[in-house]
């Protein structure tokens, strides 16, 4: 296949990124809509109910999948934005090396959020 491959893209190529972006969008939408629905339906929410929700096994799995999907979505999304604007045409000849630095920072934040998030979900 002749599509563009980049070591900095998440998947093997742009098509793979495109598919991950779509699947992750649907999962994140489901997760957030579920939480909004839960909060709207439980106006007098108690701590016990809240912990019971997040410590149930299906919710731990749902939260984990959603978080990983969200981070993939964010990485692909931000990578796309950076490659659009941090270019030599817009930012001069140092743009490519500057973009690499910013990408590394974003990637580090993504990893940290993954660790922090998973420890929240699985320490309950």
């Amino acid at each position: 296949m002749g599509s563009v491959t980049s070591i900095a893209s998440l998947g093997r190529n742009g098509l793979y990124d495109w598919v991950v972006q779509r699947i992750s969008a649907v999962v994140i939408a489901a997760y957030f809509l579920f939480l909004v629905f839960f909060l709207v339906m439980n106006p007098g929410l108690t701590y016990e109910q809240w912990v019971a929700l997040f410590s149930s096994n299906w919710m731990q799995v749902f939260s984990t999948i959603s978080l990983l999907m969200l981070l993939a979505h964010v990485w692909i999304g931000v990578w796309g934005v950076l490659t659009d604007y941090m270019t030599p045409r817009l930012m001069g000849s140092k743009a490519n090396s500057m973009r690499l630095v910013v990408e590394l920072v974003v990637f580090a934040v993504v990893l940290i959020v993954a660790v922090v998030g998973l420890s929240i979900f699985w320490s309950l």
């Binding site: 779509r22 969008a25 000849s93």
Partner: protein, 130 residues
């Protein structure tokens, strides 16, 4: 050093000189809301962590969330979320080949703005209790 030509051909993408169609506004708004949501996720994760720590922390989060400035902050996160969601769904619909014509694109962009505006109003009503 800015490049104003590529291979001897001029590049003119100075957006200030171009009159943007509604579809362009729909697109850039989707992008901006996506970036805002990145920040929102960090704050929400912090609130989630705290709210699950103990009964006292849970009550404190409830108190923080009901204070006026934080309510406004939550609104600033939920509003972009609705827009990004609705515009994202439009993406998925267009990926299936629906609404790809020029007119379809314009109509879709209008629908996205209207539907997310309605959801944003509902969210305000929910947060501030009409």
């Amino acid at each position: 050093m800015k490049i104003s030509s590529v291979n001897g051909r001029p590049v003119n993408l100075d957006l200030n000189t171009i009159d943007l169609p509604i579809t362009a506004y729909a697109s850039i708004t989707h992008r901006i809301t996506g970036l805002v949501l990145c920040a929102a996720v960090l704050v929400l994760l912090w609130f989630l962590d705290k709210s699950l720590t103990s009964e006292a922390d849970f009550t404190e989060v409830q108190k923080i969330l009901s204070s006026m400035p934080i309510k406004a902050l939550m609104f600033l996160f939920l509003a972009p979320f609705w827009y990004h969601l609705i515009a994202g769904i439009r993406h998925l619909i267009m990926d299936m080949g629906v609404g790809e014509s020029l007119e379809g694109g314009r109509l879709g962009a209008k629908i996205v703005f209207i539907v997310s505006a309605v959801l944003i109003v509902f969210t305000g009503v929910w947060l501030w209790g009409a």
